[in-house]
Amino acid sequence: MSDVQPAIRLTGVSKQFPGGYTALEGVDITVAPGRFVSLVGPSGCGKSTALSLIAGLDTPTAGTVKVRDRLVNGVADGVGFLFQRDALLPWKNVFDNVAFPLVLRKRPAKEIAERVNEWIARVNLRGFENHFPSALSGGMRKRVALAQTLVYEPQIILMDEPFSALDVQTRDLMEDELLQLWQGSGMTIVFVTHDLEEAIALSDEVVVMTAGPARVKARYDVTLPRPRVIEQVRLDPRFTELYRAMWNDLRDEVLESYARATSAP
C-alpha cells in the first residue's frame, strides 16, 4: 500500500479556532485511493472540522493536508461533501438541485439532462423531478444530496453523518444503496459517524478519535467480505468482535467527553 499515492494524507494536523478552542491536535490520517474509511468519535470532538480541512473550506493551524499529493489550498475540484445539515438549495427543485454542479461547470444542456435523469433514477427519485426539497421526506432529501454529489463524479467523497437524522429502517436502506453505488466505482470515501455499527458495516477501515481535542486513538481494519448486505453483516462473528474492541476504546472517550460537558461551568 505504501507504493500507492494516497488519496488523502493528514500529517500532524492541528486546528485551533480563533476563540482559543483546539478541535484537532497532531492528527495523522492516510487514506488509500478507493478505500472506505470511517471516522468515529464522541460528539463535538472535531470530526466535522477534519472534513472541512480536507475539503479546503478551512485551513489547519499546524500540519499539512494533502489531497492526491497536492497541498489543499482552497476548495479542490473532484471532492464531494455530504453535509451533516441539510444543504440542498430550497429554491431549486430536485432536477435543478442535481443539475446544479453541472450547470456550474457549464456542461451542455443535453448532457446535463441525460446525466441528471440517470442519477435521479439511480437514487430512486423518478417522478419527483419537479418537487421542491420542502416537499420531500428526510430520506428523499438525502438521496437528492447524494445524486447531486455523485453526478459530477468526484473521486473523493466526504460524508458527515449523512444518515444520522433518519429512522432506522430508512437508514439501513440508504446504507445498502450507498454500498451499491460505491462498489466498483473506485471512489474514496471518508465517512464520519458516531455509530460504531454503521462504521463497521460500511468501512474497510475505522479510525477512532479521542474526545476533543481530537487525536487518533486507534485504527481497525475491517476485513469482512464484500459485497456486504447490512442486515447480514451484523450477524458475522467478526463484526461482534470488532464492535467490542472498538467500543472499549470509544467508551473511555465518550465518558470523558460526557464528564466534561456536565462539569462545564
Partner: protein
Amino acid sequence: MREQLRPLNRWTILSTQVVLTILVLGLWELGGRAGWIDKLYFSRPSDIGMQVAEWVRLGYVVKDVVTTMSETLAGLAVGALVGIVLGIVLASNRFLGAVFEPLLVLLNSIPRITLVPLFILWFGFRFESKVASAIALVLFVVFFATYAGIKDVDPTLVASARVLGATRADVVRHVLVPSALTWIFSSLRSAVGFALIGAVVAEYFGANAGVGYRIQYSEANFNTAGVFAGLAVLMVLVTLVDAFIVRVQRHLIRWK
C-alpha cells in the same frame, strides 16, 4: 395546531367586513346630516363620492393618477434597484460592508421627508423632484432588507455551493440573491407605500397635477370633501399595486 381549528368561512368574514364598512360610512353620513359632525371639517361620504365623480367627469382622476403613479413607479424602480444592488455588494464584500454600512445607518437616521425642500431646490417643481423624494424613501428600506437577507443566509448552503464548484459570482447568483428574495419582496411591499408618500408629499410642496396636488388644492379652498376624495383615490392605488406585488412574489417564491 392550526389544522385542529375549524376553518373560518371566507364569506362570513367578507360579509362582516362589508357590513362594518356600511355601518361606519352610514353613521358618518347620518351624523353629518343631523349636524352632530361638522361638515366643514369632516365632510360626508356622499359629498366625497360626488367629488370623486366630478373629478372623473372633468378627467382629473386619470390625469392625477397617471402623474402620481409615474412619479411613484419611477422612484420605486430606481430606489429598489439601487437598494438591491447596494445591499448585495455591501453584504457580499466584507471590506466594503465594514466601510459603508455605518454610513448608511447614519444617513438613514435623517427623517427623509425633511429632504423634500432640498430636492425642490435642486430640481424645481418638476417630475425629478418628486421622483427624488420617492427614491430617498424607498432606497433605505430596500437596502437594509437586502443586506439583512444576505447576511441571514445559511452558511452551510454557501459551503455546499463552493464544494459543488461555485465561484464567488455563482454563490451570489445561486445562493445569496434567492435567499434574500423573501426579504426583498416583503420590503418592496412597504416600499410601494413609501414611494407614494414621497411623491405625494413633494406634490404638496408644488405641482400642477397629481393626487397630492389635488389634495393640497382642495385644502387651500376649504374643500374638505376634496381632501377626503384624494385620500380615497390614494387608498385604491396602493391596494392595487400591493396586490400586483403579492402576485409576482407568489410566482417567484413558490418553493416555500
